[in-house]
């Protein structure tokens, strides 16, 4: 866990990619879940953030 936070602070690729992956996954789940309309409404914003983040952080150093 400490390594993960450290990696975030030092802008390392690995942990940031994990964050972006989680965001994308969350967005996809929000898009298709049958429970809350509000979650569906905000899903696109979450996915978009995750995707853009993924593209950016994949250029961080290992």
């Amino acid at each position: 866990m400490r390594g993960f936070v450290n990696g975030l602070i030092r802008l390392r690729r690995g942990p940031w990619e994990t964050v972006a992956t989680v965001l994308i996954a969350a967005g996809v789940v929000m898009l298709m879940q049958p429970f809350a309309l509000a979650a569906y409404t905000w899903s696109f914003a979450v996915t978009l953030t995750g995707t853009v983040m993924f593209i950016v952080v994949s250029h961080f150093p290992e």
Binding site: A20, T21, I24, G27, V28, L31, Q33, L37, T47, T51
Partner: protein
């Protein structure tokens, strides 16, 4: 004759110089080789994509090209993301996606596990199992409507034979409760081999010595399965799941031929829904925004997919 002179000169020139005389530099060649591909992809993928983004901010309708174009900002996105009908089709997609993945992973992995027992003739049977995967989904969907016919269809007959119900008493694609399962069954039939092949590659990538070491440690077969087999196959399985997930998220051809989205709109997956908006109701601006939402989702999943791909490649 001249050829001779050139080649003699080339032989005489040292290293880098020789290469320059003999033709283009590596860098120039690299660009000449890559640029046509990039240009074609820009023209047929990126340019349309940018156009779609632009259209998604307007109220454009492709069947009324001389109507006045109005900029509506993010209104299209807002309307789609609050529309319960589109939300419904997302849920239909989710049902399809989740169950096809569950069945394909369970059956696909089990088959791979069995084939990996290396019984006689396993190559031949693997090839037979793989056949449905490569066929045209639209044609497959079309002929499954025949197999699903209430009385005369083979599927209904076999189900009736096994379970004893009357083969004309149920209609897989006409019944609201059964239709969502009818598409799951066909997709599972078609794509289980895909998951199976990838799992098989995963199983075959596990070196024997790991099991031998576990045997020395007196680990039970059950324990070996959960601590060696599953973790080693997992990256491969992830790859298969992501790929099938992306493919089924945008599923169109198979289902459109099989049920056409019906009965009602019970099997109307997002792509079918989008096709209706774009090419039947001609709400081009609105459906462009819809397309962008699907596209961003797929693009996000694709980046995860490539990450998984590289992980497997390292093995």
């Amino acid at each position: 004759m001249t050829d001779d002179i050139i080649s003699r000169e080339r032989a005489a020139a040292p290293g880098a110089l020789r290469r320059r005389i003999g033709g283009l530099s590596d860098r120039a060649l690299a660009w000449i080789f890559i640029v046509p591909t990039i240009l074609l992809l820009l023209a047929i993928n990126i340019f349309p994509l940018i156009w779609t983004i632009r259209l998604s901010l307007t109220n454009y309708r492709a069947n009324r090209t001389n109507a006045e174009l109005e900029w509506v900002g993010l209104r299209n996105y807002e309307r789609i993301l609050t529309d319960p009908d589109i939300w419904n089709s997302m849920q239909a997609t989710a049902h399809f996606l989740v169950w096809t993945l569950v069945f394909q992973v369970l059956i696909g992995f089990s088959l791979a596990y069995l084939i990996n027992k290396k019984f006689k003739g396993n190559d031949l049977w693997t090839t037979i199992i793989v056949l449905p995967m490569m066929l045209s989904p639209a044609v497959v969907g079309n002929f499954w409507t025949f197999l699903y016919q209430p009385q005369i269809g083979l599927f209904n007959y076999v189900v009736a034979f096994v379970s004893g119900v009357d083969p004309s008493s149920f209609s897989m694609i006409g019944d609201v409760r059964l239709a969502p399962w009818s598409i799951v069954i066909v997709d599972t039939w078609m794509w289980t081999p895909f998951v199976m092949l990838i799992c098989l590659a995963g199983l075959r990538s596990i070196p024997d010595y790991i099991y031998e070491a576990a045997e020395v440690d007196r680990a039970s077969r059950w324990r070996q399965f959960w601590t060696i087999t599953i973790p080693m196959v997992l990256p491969f399985l992830m790859l298969a799941v992501l790929f099938r997930g992306i493919e089924n998220f945008k599923m169109f051809d198979l289902v459109v031929q099989l049920t056409g989205g019906g009965p009602g709109s019970i099997t109307e997956l997002t792509s079918i829904n989008l096709k209706r908006e774009a090419f039947e109701k001609w709400r081009t601006g609105y459906s462009s925004a819809y397309a962008i939402i699907l596209f961003v989702t797929v693009f996000g999943l694709a980046s995860i997919y490539v990450k998984a791909l590289n992980k497997v490649k390292e093995r």
